[in-house]
């Protein structure tokens, strides 16, 4: 238990109190649940409307309903499957360009573009493609997803790149590799590795965002549920919604678990570069950008991917003799200014 430090190991009195509180709240929750079920039953939520799932009215067969829902799910996954690889490739490209080409103009414009793309609602981008470019709903959805997620992936990778020990780059350059080759051959593989949990979690965000396709009339799962509801009538919306919500949650939970698994694997193997610190808390508070919360909370000195990072190894920043305030700020700020970029999405609930 991450927070057990907040209270003592319970003694006899506290144990009794605990038991009382446990029972009280359990009873309260059960009572609330029972009341909700009762209220639902009063409104006929549990009547034969559920038959829409196996014996639908209006001369339809169950196969018709399920086929349309399956098509919706297929479209949801299709949009995600097209958008994800493009977004990752594009994001990696931007990150490489920013790192490997050290021209101000290039890095500057890349920064402006990523910040712009990250600062806008995905829906706005989808509508841009739909209305201004006149693209089909599918490609509008893909456009919105790609532009936004590419920017996030670029930021995630950039944070990974800046987190690598400086020696990696110096070693690459000193054996005569160009800056670009150093980035490609030495830095990028390590950055991808440490940011892998964050990248996997970003897929959850992307998949969740496909539901915005509902608004630009892309026939994804939610839109199909709406279509079925319009056809069968409002009474049947509950069973259809329950099926849809379950599908979304199960798929996203599975990917979230995958991110946790990847993170644990990396942590167990534990060698390699330290992941970037995000947030003032020190080491990664959760699995990077939007992973599921870790069972063990991040605590100062919590070794994230390796056991080789005790608290003592993170000294307070010290001012060099004769260093001006501004130089000190800059030197320290370098580390912390990179963190902002990691506070990308899932952790913030960005749609």
């Amino acid at each position: 238990m991450s927070s057990s430090v907040l209270y003592d190991v319970p003694g006899p009195r506290a144990r009794r109190l605990d038991r009382i509180l446990n029972v009280t709240f359990s009873v309260a929750f059960v009572a609330i649940a029972a009341y909700v079920v009762y209220a639902f039953a009063q409104r006929g939520v549990f009547d034969d409307r559920w038959k829409v799932l196996w014996d639908p009215p209006k001369g339809q067969t169950a196969a018709d309903v399920w086929t349309s829902l399956a098509q919706g799910l297929g479209n949801t996954l299709l949009a995600a499957a097209i958008a994800a690889p493009i977004a990752v490739t594009l994001g990696a490209f931007v990150a490489i360009v920013r790192r490997g080409i050290t021209r101000r103009l290039v890095t500057g414009s890349a920064t402006v573009v990523t910040e712009f793309a990250r600062g806008l609602p995905v829906l706005m981008l989808m509508l841009l493609a739909r209305l201004a470019f006149g693209w089909s709903p599918l490609w509008s959805v893909v456009f919105g997803l790609v532009v936004y997620n590419a920017a996030v992936v670029a930021e995630v990778l950039r944070a990974g790149l800046t987190a690598l020990p400086k020696g990696q780059r110096e070693a690459g350059l000193s054996i005569g590799l160009s800056p670009m080759r150093t980035t490609l051959l030495i830095e990028l593989p390590q950055a991808v590795r440490i940011m892998l949990p964050a990248l996997v979690s970003q897929i959850v965000v992307l998949l969740k965002d496909t539901a915005l396709g509902y608004i630009v009339s892309y026939p994804e799962l939610l839109r199909k549920i709406k279509i079925n509801r319009d056809y069968f009538g409002d009474d049947y919306v509950i069973p259809l919604f329950v099926v849809g919500a379950t599908l979304y949650i199960l798929i996203n939970l599975a990917i979230s678990r995958l991110a946790t698994y990847v993170e644990r694997r990396l942590r167990e193997r534990g060698k390699g570069a330290n992941p970037p610190e995000i947030g003032p808390a020190g080491p990664i508070p959760q699995s990077g950008v939007g992973g599921p919360p870790r069972a063990e909370g991040a605590r100062a000195g919590d070794p994230v991917f390796g056991a080789n990072r005790p608290v003592e190894s993170q000294p307070m920043p010290q001012r060099y003799p004769g260093e001006s305030d501004e130089e000190f700020q800059r030197r320290i700020g370098q580390a912390s200014s990179q963190r902002a970029s990691l506070r990308a999405n899932d952790r913030t609930g960005d749609v």
């Binding site: 927070s3 929750f29 829906l123 209305l131 608004i215 919306v237 003032p280 952790r347």
Partner: protein, 216 residues
């Protein structure tokens, strides 16, 4: 360009609507998120389970699905939520509070173990330890991630456009449909309105983060 200028009144209205929705749900989700975070670290098992289940489910649900719930499903459950603003507020609050909870919880976990130990050793109870020692420090470290949550919230208000709440993206859609020739200008104009909200927030987050990093 012309459209942007001639329709500026409409756009400004949309901007205010976005801002109002963002502000209202920010306040509500901060409150509810703090309650959830307290539940998740509390010594009472059922509360912890509830908090965990809530956060896990909501984080893995698309926001659009929550809007859909309040608009189409809730009425048949006997749960009537008012049109437009109110159901947008409900959906955004339920959604955002899960992320507020997580930001706060990671803040709580970042407070040094010694702080809570010291508090306990002088005899403070769980409630006192949390409210007087840990939470004030957790708040500080949580502010930058919380601001990121608020930025995301601001952008998320756009989902209201699909569900009868007239905010910036609704205006964007109308203007783009009516003036196809000016579509790009409309897009960049409205983009600017969002950036006006989100960039200052981001800058503030960066500043505070640097300052807090120093204090530790």
């Amino acid at each position: 360009m012309e459209t942007f200028i001639s329709e500026f009144g409409t756009i400004w209205g949309g901007f205010l609507a976005t801002l109002a929705l963002a502000a209202a749900s920010a306040v509500l989700s901060l409150v509810w998120g703090t309650v959830l975070a307290t539940m998740r670290v509390s010594p009472v098992g059922p509360l912890r389970s509830f908090g965990t289940a809530y956060v896990e489910i909501v984080r893995n649900t698309p926001l659009t699905l929550l809007f859909f719930f309040f608009v189409f499903v809730a009425p048949s459950l006997g749960l009537l939520v008012g049109l437009g603003f109110q159901w947008s507020l409900a959906a955004l609050t339920l959604y955002t509070s899960a992320f507020v909870c997580e930001a706060l919880r990671s803040g709580i976990n970042s407070v040094g173990v010694g702080q809570a130990e010291a508090a306990r050793s002088i005899g403070l109870t769980f409630g006192q330890t949390l409210t007087q020692i840990v939470l004030p420090q957790a708040w500080r470290t949580s502010i930058p991630p919380l601001i990121s949550v608020l930025i995301a919230l601001t952008k998320n208000t756009s989902v209201g456009a699909g569900f009868a709440y007239a905010e910036l993206v609704t205006v964007q859609r109308t203007l783009m449909t009516e003036n196809p020739a000016d579509a790009l200008f409309v897009f960049f104009g409205i983009a600017l309105m969002y950036l006006v909200i989100t960039i200052p927030l981001g800058v503030t987050a960066g500043r505070i983060e640097k300052r807090v990093a120093f204090a530790r």
